[in-house]
Symmetry: C2
Subunit: 340 residues, 2 copies
Amino acid sequence: MTQAANRQILLASRPQGEPSAANFKLVQTPLPELREGQVRVRNHYLSLDPYMRGRMNEGRSYAQPQPLDEVMIGGTVGEVVESRHASFTPGDKVVGMGGWQEYSTVDAAQPGLLRKVDTTHVPLPAYLGAVGMPGVTAWYGLVRIIDPQAGQTVVVSAASGAVGSAVGQLAKARGCRAIGVAGGTDKCRYVTEELGFDACIDYKQHGDAKSLAAALKAAAPEGFDGYFENVGGMVLNAVLPQMKDHGRIAVCGMISGYNGEPIPLENPQLILTARLKVQGFIVAEHMDAWPEALKELGTLVATGRLKYRESVAEGLENAPDAFLGLLKGRNFGKQLVKLI
Amino acid sequence: MTQAANRQILLASRPQGEPSAANFKLVQTPLPELREGQVRVRNHYLSLDPYMRGRMNEGRSYAQPQPLDEVMIGGTVGEVVESRHASFTPGDKVVGMGGWQEYSTVDAAQPGLLRKVDTTHVPLPAYLGAVGMPGVTAWYGLVRIIDPQAGQTVVVSAASGAVGSAVGQLAKARGCRAIGVAGGTDKCRYVTEELGFDACIDYKQHGDAKSLAAALKAAAPEGFDGYFENVGGMVLNAVLPQMKDHGRIAVCGMISGYNGEPIPLENPQLILTARLKVQGFIVAEHMDAWPEALKELGTLVATGRLKYRESVAEGLENAPDAFLGLLKGRNFGKQLVKLI
């Protein structure tokens, strides 16, 4: 079977400070013959996520650095086009870690690499967002770390993003007040008017943590029982003094510090005086939580009770620009690249 | 029954920055008649603890500020000298929150205010230290928050202190490596030679977090699974980068920040990259843990397997100086004031 050659984006070099398009390289490679047990997937959508920035560095991050001159890692959804494994048939819709490329060749015998999904009630790209890794991330941090009770108040940064928007809606579904922090009036309006958060603070209106803290206090004078941290830096410094006793902070992202300039936490003793729990996590280490999370997320999406928004770039060649935009907060909702 | 008048130390003023003897006032007051249900205790020992510094401030700390012109709060052990409550008899040895005074008058009907203790195998002042609040603090942070497994490595700051010394010995009893951080060669020698820690780093030999971090790395190249934080500041900044993935930090004290100069946490994103849990606690909020903790601590002390050291100041009038010394780390082991 003859197929078009594969197009791939490799990590060409590691960024010094802020990454640029020059760190990536688009290449064209022939597709190898499928071996026994392998499956070929035509990737329809690639997911772009902040964690990829960490992988571009050599230093310590969540996991192994992305190797140079290899295909950038990334989650994908697509369709099986060729199969030499009994569990998969051409036409199957699948989600996996296909990477920044048009086709992926997957060793289907290895468990967990490829998962068939049902697109009857949930659109295929949602499996990269609300019913995928970002949704489960929101669910895990909220349900397993913050564990909010009805009547409590939860605040989330990057509230209009793929993770943040799910955090607030899942909190609302549990009878909590949900406060968002986002960048720009459009995003804030979306967060309150479309997603149903109780309030949203536009951090771009505030030059420092003190000013942002005052706005947060006006929105939630009762203080916060839970904070879902996607950003770090100024927002963390503004939220921390307003955490209630025994508050819980789920640390999911610290995008502001990725460029090699860590932003100090000004008042660590608040962790003691308010007896806070501050916990970092990555959802890939908690696979046991995925089935329960996906069940709730899938049901909420299928019934229209969990809303989400996508920013879709067209074509693999536009993935680097879309990724750089994501790091600067230019996306609005889950950032995807349409590959077909 | 005629008794000597009571001597008490009151909080006379709130410190601006570093506290001084002028913040305290020694007064002499007549002892009131006992009412029905009350018990009079002659306090034998007063416990001095870092948490008292937080109570001297007006602002947010663990709890209510210490009111001005009232007897300073504090744990005491002593002997019942007069009782109008059926559960207590003159001669009973008791532990309670008698405050900075020679006699305390306790409403014994209120549960938890006064507890009879057995001094057959455990000396009376130990109920203010290894078998009291500091010991239970060590136990709770280690067992309930750090939850170390045999073979793991635990580091504790203020390792020669009442809490720190118990943390390391409890960790050793669980098959862990125990590393201490303490101030001065004498304290470090005590920590390793008498308490049996595997190593102890003298932070006074190190001018910054980087230098201290290198010494910690030499002592424990494997990194730390748990950190019991009694100090904050430079030590925290030195330990944090050496926490292993999924490490746990129990935050019990941040003495460096009490004078109104918070010391920032330089690299909060390490909480994310190493997926740490950082949890502040005060043991008074976990009364459910006390029986189990006291049972283990009492057994270890009675059988000589939990060692401790006391710094004893003589006479109530010397309590302020002893307390100021404690804040500067001049004590060596549990700081007590002998009142009789």
